[in-house]
């Protein structure tokens, strides 16, 4: 392969790229802007004091001791931002999207919940009004409500006025409860013991451990939680920008590669290809130079994006630097051969741009460039290993915020090189050397 023509072909592509201000902005500024935006969306919280609380509306139609206790518990929960409102307002705000979940405690809830606590029957309903676009928050609120309802009901049952009445009533009605005799006997023994406990302990005198100092006993969470993010370094918080810049860098490097592929179609259209083919240079030089220039531009796009992320958003390569460079170069080569594939399969610049943009968006979406693949359904997580961007994103994540060693970069590098070879092979086999 003659070096002078090869270098000239690569330099020419770089010159044309640099001369197109719109392409340069698209390649360098857009990933910075969009990467920053996605980074802010997906970043972890900087400290426990700044947890994103779920806004919850509370409608207490019961106003019983238990319902007031539930409202008080929710109001002090660090994961929730509770606000008491009337039912009409709650429904209206959820419908408008101003609130994600509203919990309605209906009239008689406390009384019924107390009875159901021991009997397990005739359970009252707790209404959850929710915005269907926030299913995840609904699940979280439901879990937290379980804790607060259990604590409130059990506390009242073991040490409250309503609990005393409920136990007395239950003992009076015990004869009419339909259950096997042996179990009925055990239930009576338990209720009698609770009644004795309630008489012995003055009302509201004991504070249960873990109850946050609220008066009264009852069932409480039997554990405390210690949270530790498993990261490359201790005290190094998760930096969502590392992932978002990997994703956006990849997206826009593929767009840059598409542009170079389309440049080749334009060269064909403008007759430039004839001049190139008329020169004494091999097909390997012509196509190799195109892949090389496309790879160089792709690498610049990715590395400039990361440089920006490092400077502005404090992204760090916590893992292997060699692994990071290896994944970045392999991903750039994949993008370069992808650009050549666009040039080979495209008929005209216009149709090629449309089809390749669609293919690229699909590839980056499935590769987890927009949103991390762990939020995908399991089957989709398994399927997306056939997408090269998945390996690039996983490889870059491993070398940046996950802080893994070079060994974790080997498979992504090999896969990306494999995709590069596949794209190049298809491109060369389908390349139209002659025009009618």
């Amino acid at each position: 392969m003659a070096l002078t023509p090869f270098v000239a072909l690569v330099r020419k592509d770089l010159q044309i790229f640099a001369s197109d201000r719109r392409a340069v902005i698209m390649a360098f500024v857009m990933p910075m802007a969009i990467g920053s935006f996605f980074g802010m969306l997906f970043s972890g919280q900087p400290s426990s004091d700044d947890v994103a609380r779920i806004p919850v509306l509370l409608v207490d139609q019961d106003s019983s001791t238990i319902s007031r206790s539930i409202v008080a518990g929710i109001s002090t929960d660090k994961n929730l931002s509770a606000e008491a409102v009337p039912i009409d307002q709650a429904r209206d705000r959820v419908r408008r999207g101003n609130a994600t979940v509203a919990v309605v405690i209906p009239p008689g809830f406390g009384e019924a919940a107390g009875r159901a606590f021991f009997r397990g029957t005739d359970k009252p309903l707790l209404d959850f009004l929710y915005d269907p676009s926030h299913g995840m928050e609904l699940a979280m609120v439901r879990g937290l409500m379980t804790q607060h309802v259990m604590e409130a009901v059990s506390r009242e049952m073991f040490n409250g006025e309503q609990g005393r009445r409920t136990i007395d009533d239950a003992l009076k009605e015990a004869g009419s409860i339909e259950m096997p005799e042996d179990r009925k006997k055990l239930l009576l023994q338990m209720l009698t013991a609770v009644q004795s406990f309630n008489r012995a302990v003055p009302q509201g005198s004991a504070a249960a451990p873990g109850s946050g100092g609220r008066a009264g006993s009852g069932i409480s969470m039997p554990y405390e939680v210690h949270e530790e993010a498993v990261m490359a370094r201790q005290n190094a918080g998760y930096n969502g920008f590392a992932h978002s810049f990997a994703g956006m860098g990849l997206q826009f490097m593929l767009f840059a590669a598409i542009n170079l592929g389309i440049e080749l179609l334009l060269e064909r259209q403008l007759g430039l290809w004839k001049r190139l083919r008329g020169a004494p240079i091999s097909k390997a030089t012509l196509l190799g130079a195109k892949i090389a220039s496309s790879t160089a531009i792709s690498a610049m796009v990715l590395l400039v994006s990361f440089a920006f992320a490092m400077l502005v958003w404090h992204v760090r390569i916590e893992g292997s630097l060699a692994g990071f460079v290896g994944v970045a170069l392999a991903a750039s080569l994949m993008a370069g051969s992808y650009g050549l594939l666009v040039a080979s399969l495209g008929k005209t610049p216009k149709t090629a741009r449309g089809a390749s943009t669609f293919a690229t968006l699909l590839m980056v979406m499935l590769g987890g460039a927009w949103a991390p693949t762990f939020i995908f359904p399991r089957w989709l997580q398994r399927v997306t290993v056939i997408v090269p961007t998945r390996w690039a994103v996983d490889g870059l994540d491993a070398m940046t915020w996950r802080g893994l060693g070079f060994a974790a970069a080997v498979l992504p590098i090999l896969m990306l090189l494999g995709f590069s070879a596949l794209f190049a092979a298809i491109a060369v086999s389908r390349f139209r050397w002659e025009e009618e």
Partner: protein, 240 residues
Amino acid sequence: MLEAVHLRKTFGTLVAVDDVSLTLENGRILALLGPNGAGKTTTVSMIATIVRPDRGEIRVDGIALAGDTDAAKRKLGMVPQDLALYEELSARDNLRFFGSLYNLGGAELDRAVAAALEMVGLIDRARDRVKAFSGGMKRRLNLAAGLLHDPAILLLDEPTVGVDPQSRNAIFDNLEQLKKQGKALLYTTHYMEEAARLADRIVVIDHGKVIADDTLQGLTRGGGTLESAFLTLTGRSLRD
């Protein structure tokens, strides 16, 4: 010397060129005339090795061209019908690029670029981007791009399409100068007056076949102009 021997090329069921042979000696201009779709561009493309012939061969100084990297290709210079230039680059950068494709570099390339720009009268606009050029200037630069490596044989595919009379005249002067330097020029055109002015020999091609190969005097022997002789040979029916 350039020889095209029994060239044939088909595209699907279309026979674009059928048994075309021609010879071009150094210091001569051969005009290739023909209506639209006659096979002129395909013939030139085969000679330039851009299109591979189904049959026949191209010989340069008696040796058949073989392969993309055949050193004999350096003896050929191509000026395509299209304005095959990078609009975003300057005239100088365009020429430097095309010269590099022929392995020119350093001072040799600088000299070749300067000489080509001087010849086509664009030396003062060397640093300007091509997109700022007029049609005539682009045509002249298109010609210059084919001359950088000092080819012995120049293939010109309708090099004056769409240019003003001044630029056309300048191109003619350039071609006559190249002829005087001993270069062989193969020139395809629609314009009869261009062929009449420049060509030592005229080959008329239609439906992919050579239907006349003679001098201007030979073709107009019966009286009349080259155009009337051309219409007599190719007919008056309209072509696509």
